[in-house]
Symmetry: C2
Subunit: 306 residues, 2 copies
């Protein structure tokens, strides 16, 4: 029996204690805590890492403060377009969706792409047509509407900014989970509502295998931050490559990958787990909403940098 | 001064001499030859690898027999949707577009995404809006119509097949180019019309950095084949990772990457070049339309396997 392990993130960026209220911080912590408990329960009962990361990310998608699912930011056109990816390290299979609309849990749709199609990535209206065909849970626009996101769009448009979610005073980003189950199998899932005021059908790293999300039988990785740099750094897979080809530990590999990200001016972080149940959560931004469960089942939630 | 180098491909798959006519083979060879001459001329005059791969891929896109640009296959809806990616290894910058319509040269639009936006990948209508805004060359539907592609769609629909281009009797696939310029700088470009009868907004490996196309200061790689497996194998970046982290030569790294692709049931091939001007063109399919130029400027074009 392997050592089960679970780690999550709720976005990285300029997260400063000085800009946070006690009540808001408590809300964030509660969202992270709830998600960790859901995933951990699955792993403790002998469930798969794939089931655990899906359920954990669903919980984070349902929580309105994170930029994924329900709390997604608005595009330039005032729409909410969501991206997600899930990867099963044991079978090296993956599914992903890009800019889908009205899907309650994009990560679950990504899993259905993996399980019911021969494809890895479906995008736009086509992905929504697939969702409709298989009867995936949708919600009306009102479900996804949150006032703080709408205000963020109005501000961004007034200032002419295309902004990453972390570039604002109250940063909330991508969500993700990585897990190792009782059989030592790994999985990773990542989900996002993208960038406020984004235009031109921009796709970031989140739905892209090896860039924002990756799992094989070496490690599972979920990234968050300025997506374009994670794409150029092939960040998620780079952790696995440094472990496989350089023989590095999970922690050393992830540290080197983040150092490379820093070198190419990328900002953000990642969470990763290996088959021994080791966990690492490095980032180069001011903070990252994150959490993990220790071997004895103790939940740890952190927000700020050191 | 570095040794300049250029390699191209026009797709990999079940390409058998027994199924080819002399006239058709001559046509393919001429398309590859023309593209190589265009890119080589740029490199010989001291032009950048980025200019060389763009011009080379434009030539392949304009050639109606290859599945990219003008010769793109039809989707289930009878449309032609094209993907492309270009990457500048020296600056580690990239631009890409997914399922754009009516763009004469998707690879040039990808370069404009790299140069004029803060993004890496634009998709769908949004990408077309960007193209319109900057005045990119478009062509009407008739320009892209080729009878053999239309017949392929009718056959595929009659048989209920979602088919990769290489899965048919007359295979024609993705196109790509990799180059090393006089300054030892590398670049890679890849372009495709996707899969015949594809549905649901499927995106393959071609427009995705590190998966179907990659360049840094180690090597430049362009892939062709069954895209989903190239995505799961993070194939293009994997060559660079094996060179950087295992210290392998370009040829050994590419051979190992293709061996891994074979292990995960992926079919296809890649072309790659390093800063010393070495070239490799491995594939595990029956054939791959391919070509390269030797140091003394001799053009070599090949189609079948050994």
């Amino acid at each position: 029996m392997a050592k089960i392990a679970l780690a999550i993130h709720g976005g990285a960026g300029t997260i400063l204690k000085s800009q946070m209220t006690t009540a808001l911080e408590a809300e964030y912590r509660s969202g992270l805590d709830t998600a960790l408990r859901i995933g951990w329960q699955i792993l403790e009962r002998g469930g798969s890492s794939l089931d655990a990361v899906e359920a954990t990310v669903c919980s984070l998608e349902d929580f309105p403060l994170f930029n994924a699912g329900r709390g997604s930011v608005f595009t330039h056109e005032g729409k909410q377009e969501m991206d997600a990816c899930i990867m099963d390290g044991h079978n090296l299979k993956a599914g992903a969706v890009a800019f889908v609309k009205n899907i309650k849990n994009p990560v679950s749709l990504a899993r259905l792409v993996m399980q019911r199609t021969e494809h890895v990535l479906l995008a736009g209206e086509g992905a929504n047509q697939f969702a409709e065909q298989i009867g995936v849970h949708t919600e009306p626009d009102e479900y996804f509407f949150t006032e703080h996101r709408w205000l963020q769009l109005q501000e961004a448009m007034a200032e002419g900014r295309v902004q990453l979610d972390h570039a604002v005073a109250k940063p909330i980003g991508t969500v993700g989970a990585v897990a190792c189950d009782i059989n030592g199998h790994l999985a990773a899932a990542t989900s996002t509502g993208g960038m406020t005021n984004k235009k031109f059908g921009r796709i970031g790293d989140t739905p892209l295998v090896g860039l924002g999300n990756y799992a094989d039988d070496t490690c599972a990785v979920s990234c968050t931050g300025h997506g374009e740099y994670f794409m150029l750094g092939v960040t998620a897979y780079d952790v696995a490559a440094r472990m496989k080809y350089k023989g590095l530990s999970l922690e050393d590999a992830a540290r080197e990958t983040i150092a490379h990200l820093t070198k190419i001016n990328g900002e953000g972080g990642l969470i990763a787990v290996d088959t021994a149940g080791n966990i690492t959560l490095p980032f180069n931004s001011d903070g990252m909403y994150r959490g993990y469960v220790t071997v004895i089942g103790q939940i740890n939630v952190e927000i700020y940098g050191s």
